[in-house]
């Protein structure tokens, strides 16, 4: 085996990207801003790193259509800022946006934030894509209109693909109007009581955009985000306080509360690994209690009691992480490993689901030599044997 000499290529157009994929033999690792470089499976050493941050900027934005086409390497925060000038937004809010994450990176890692309760993740907002396959094929799917059922929704298969299967070059997104007002209600609450409280919030007519539990310096509490018109959002938030208690946070306090929440999600605590999972909401408390016992104590805990998704930090120990994956799988959920100490050999995913065989077949059809992102979805897509990386 020769000594690997990794070269980084930074294309600035889709044509460049295609040329880079075609011109470079061997394996390719995709890179964006690097905010999730250690998520999912540990990449095998690659011959080339394809830096997608050069493929940046809005391609077309027609505000009246509430859609935008964007190069995948665009920093998400920058995109939101430009859209904000038109009082529009992409209605997702993953924690690592603040660290400079790119649109393509958020998409490839299937990341989402508190607003997933109402808006889902990027998979729910992407209406079209241009992708480049390992053999240089450039393919589009979807289009520029929100309502469109022509052809396969191919874009979806790259959501959560972690840089395998194909390179996302451009995405077309549906936009939402920026709400006039955003109000946060904080209700003090132990984690053990968060499920019941969150259900009472959900059963009220306020239609919260996000409901998150967070244990922080400010105490353990449920944060409820209410978005809408100037008068409406405020009135709804007050009705909520009447119904379930707590208080409306002043704008600065609300900003600080959500910032602290995001900081927990993207934290890199020493000797710990960040474990993200989703289970049916009614199982969330039980699974968290089990993980608490298994791991000797969870830290950086944020939970979304109404969606069943939580992010926690556990000891960076292979057995502990494997046990955590098993516990979530036993509850019928899904889990993946996020931030972890450099060099830690930890299992990224839980037991392979029955659909893993199908996933391998799809991977074989799109990237038969596993040139892209090799190792990212191991062990579900194992690295090919007998091929040097």
């Amino acid at each position: 085996m020769s000594t690997p000499r990794v070269e980084t290529v930074t294309p600035t157009t889709v044509d460049d990207l295609r040329a880079a994929v075609l011109d470079r033999p061997g394996t390719i690792r995709l890179a964006g801003a690097g905010t999730a470089a250690d998520w999912a499976g540990t990449p095998a050493p690659a011959d080339t790193v394809l830096d997608l941050t050069g493929l940046s900027g809005i391609v077309t934005h027609n505000p009246g259509d509430m859609t935008v086409e964007v190069h995948a390497g665009t920093p998400f925060a920058q995109l939101q800022e430009e859209l904000g000038e038109h009082h529009q937004r992409v209605a997702v809010d993953p924690a690592r946006v603040a660290e400079g994450a790119t649109l393509g990176g958020l998409f490839a890692t299937a990341d989402s934030g508190p607003r997933a309760l109402q808006y889902g993740s990027l998979r729910d907002l992407v209406i079209g894509a241009t992708i480049v396959l390992a053999d240089g094929t450039v393919a589009r799917s979807g289009g520029h209109v929100i309502k469109n059922v022509a052809g396969y929704d191919l874009t979806k298969v790259l959501h959560g693909a972690h840089g395998t299967l194909g390179v996302v070059a451009r995405l077309v997104l549906r936009l939402h109007p920026t709400p006039q007002a955003t109000v946060t209600v904080a209700v003090p609450c132990e984690r053990s009581g968060s499920a019941d409280l969150a259900r009472r919030v959900a059963d009220s007519p306020v239609e919260a955009t996000a409901i998150q539990w967070h244990g922080s310096d400010q105490g353990d509490r449920l944060l409820v985000l209410v978005e809408g018109s100037e008068s409406g959002a405020d009135a709804r938030a007050r009705r909520l306080v009447d119904a379930v208690g707590g208080e409306l946070l002043a704008p600065d306090d609300a900003g600080a509360a959500w910032e602290a929440h995001a900081a927990s999600v993207r934290a890199r605590p020493a000797d710990r690994a960040v474990f993200r999972f989703g289970v049916i909401p009614s199982s969330l408390t039980g699974v968290l209690d089990g993980l608490e016992a298994d791991t000797g104590g969870l830290t950086e805990v944020t939970t979304s009691p109404r969606t069943g998704v939580a992010t926690v930090a556990v000891p960076a120990d292979a057995d502990v992480v494997a046990a955590a994956h098993r516990r979530v799988a036993d509850a019928g959920g899904t889990s993946s490993l996020r931030q972890r100490p450099a060099g830690a050999e930890l299992p990224a995913f839980g037991p392979a689901p029955p659909s893993a065989a199908l996933l391998r077949a799809v991977a074989t059809s799109l990237d038969p030599d596993q040139r892209l992102g090799r190792g990212r979805l191991a062990p579900w897509i194992p690295a090919p044997t007998g091929v040097s990386a």
């Binding site: 009246g64 259509d65 509430m66 989402s112 889902g120 993740s121 729910d124 992708i131 396959l133 393919a139 799917s141 289009g143 520029h144 209109v145 929100i146 309502k147 469109n148 059922v149 022509a150 052809g151 396969y152 929704d153 874009t155 979806k156 298969v157 959501h159 959560g160 693909a161 395998t164 109007p177 259900r199 959900a202 059963d203 239609e207 809408g228 018109s229 409406g232 009705r239 989703g278 289970v279 049916i280 909401p281 969606t307 069943g308 998704v309 959920g333 899904t334 889990s335 993946s336 995913f349 839980g350 029955p354 659909s355 199908l358 996933l359 077949a361 799809v362 059809s365 799109l366 979805l377």
Partner: protein, 508 residues
């Protein structure tokens, strides 16, 4: 490969179809015997009359009698049927209620129709977690009916919701009048059990939106039965909105109505629904329903807001002010639920009602970017004039989804011109940056137009994915992808379902 058979309105199958009296040679008696080993004999349909009742879906111009029809009763039986098809190497077409409008459930001559109409159990309404677990043959509206006592409902509401199945909704990624705000089937399905072409059973998706690995669930939804059959679907349920407000607004021109929609969007209001009708469609609908539409108004909007009372009241005031600013000639605000339903009936019965003003017509489905609505309508009017045909327009104005109705007379020999105009309109939508279909699907009907919207590379990659799921292309072959054999003939006229004519169901 499917045979396409063009039928005269009341005629028999065309000459290129295999004899319907006996199953084609490729499907021998062993196949039926194998099915009878896993199903009671009366659930394996081999007689001609029985098979003929499955010859088409809601697009009645495409007909093909299948070799066999099977009616499994649960997921295990579906998987067993698929395995038998795999063993014999025969294609199969999954079928829900057969209400699709693109020939997506049209049978294959030497293949099997696997109907899920007996898988009709609602397995669970989980109030705490706000989800429902369903067998694929459950009617869309039954989900909301079952959830309603708990203050919950299922959001996607395709216009045929009384008679279309959730399994069909998954295949087509169905939307509905309210999808502008609430999204499509793909946004509401969490998890599915799917039988693949080889008979293996896999679960796609999971109990939450949280994904570990690529989103195969999203790929499967909207694949029009070409990747497998779903046998169990878990959907999200939403809380019934506190308030619903509806306005029917007449406008002096289509442009004024279109500008109103633009200003509503600019005002950061996302209505639950925004529907537009032109005078021709209102004339037809009013004659059929007496819903209170103003037949001499050039255009009307039906706009609905829903949500928390505090928001809706303020937004509704803003909304009516926008309508007035654009010269609305009448604002009708129904106050009672019954009155609101009457307005909706006027909208929903429009397709079938067009039969009152034209002997024959074709329903088209295309999408343009919302800001190009006025442009596309002008072009459609010009194209109609050139073709010497009238076109009525009914559409979901909020998302640019058009349903032009091409009126013609079969007896006057206008059929071919009408079909050409209809296809040209769908392809015009693509030219204007839109899509061939917003909700009816590609199926058999539009497979030949796919190269207008997608390059051969685009389609090639889709096909590679198809082969990963179904290496022998036995799941619903001949649909969605253009094939030389398929592309040479044109679809027939639209024939409304009897329930549709009565205004009970509608195709928006």
């Amino acid at each position: 490969m499917p045979e396409r058979t063009m039928e005269a309105p009341h005629g028999g199958t065309g000459s290129d179809a295999p004899s319907a009296a006996t199953p084609p040679a490729a499907v021998g008696p062993e196949l039926a015997r194998d099915f009878r080993d896993v199903l009671p004999a009366d659930l394996v349909i081999t007689d001609e009359v029985g098979r003929r009742s499955y010859e088409c879906d809601g697009l009645t111009g495409f007909r093909q009698v299948p070799a066999l029809v099977v009616l499994p009763r649960d997921a295990e039986e579906v998987a067993a049927c698929v395995r038998i098809c795999a063993r014999h190497g025969v294609p199969f077409v999954a079928r829900g209620a057969g209400t699709g409008l693109s020939g997506g459930a049209m049978p294959v001559a030497d293949g099997v129709v696997i109907s899920v109409q007996k898988l009709r159990r609602i397995l669970e309404i989980d109030v705490e977690n706000r989800r429902a677990v369903l067998e694929p043959g459950v009617y869309n509206l039954e989900i909301s009916k079952a959830a309603q006592p708990h203050g919950l409902y299922y959001a996607p509401d395709p216009s045929s919701q009384q008679v279309c199945t959730i399994g069909g909704n998954v295949a087509e990624n169905s939307g509905g009048a309210h999808c502008l705000k609430y999204g499509f089937t793909t946004n509401h399905v969490l998890e599915m059990e799917v039988v693949l072409a080889d008979g293996s059973v896999v679960t796609l998706g999971g109990p939450t939106g949280e994904q570990a690995g690529p989103d195969l669930r999203g790929l499967f939804i909207g694949s029009e039965g070409t990747l497998g059959i779903c046998t169990r679907v878990t959907v999200r349920l939403l809380q019934t909105p506190e308030t619903v407000r509806t306005v029917l607004a007449d406008f002096p021109s289509i442009e004024a109505a279109g500008d109103t929609v633009g200003d509503i969007v600019d005002a950061a209001i996302i209505p639950a629904a925004v529907e537009m009708m032109d005078s021709l469609s209102m004339e037809a609908s009013e004659a059929a329903t007496g819903a209170g539409l103003t037949v001499d108004a050039p255009a009307a909007l039906i706009i609905e807001l829903d949500g928390p009372a505090d928001e809706v009241e303020a937004e509704f005031e803003h909304l009516t002010a926008i309508c007035e600013r654009h010269g609305a000639t009448r604002l009708h605000v129904p106050t009672e639920a019954e009155e609101r339903q009457k307005v909706w009936k006027g909208r929903k019965a429009a397709f079938a009602a067009v039969g009152r003003i034209s002997p024959d017509y074709i329903v088209q489905d295309g999408v343009v970017p919302r800001t190009r609505l006025a442009e596309v309508l002008t072009r459609i009017a010009e194209m109609g004039r050139d073709a010497g045909l009238r076109v009525a327009n009914v559409f979901h104005a909020g998302d640019g989804n058009l349903h032009p109705l091409v009126l013609y007379s079969e007896s006057a020999g206008e059929h071919d011109a009408a079909e050409k105009l209809s296809t040209d309109i769908a392809e015009l939508c693509v030219e204007l940056g839109g899509s061939l279909s917003g909700e009816h699907g590609i199926g058999t009907d539009k497979a030949c137009s796919m190269p207008v919207m997608f390059s051969s590379d685009d389609l090639g990659v889709m096909h590679r994915v198809r082969l990963a799921f179904d290496p022998d292309s036995r799941c619903n072959p001949g649909k969605l992808f253009p094939t030389p054999r398929l592309c040479g003939e044109r679809p027939g006229k639209y024939q409304p379902h009897p329930l549709e004519e009565a205004g009970v169901i509608e195709r928006l």
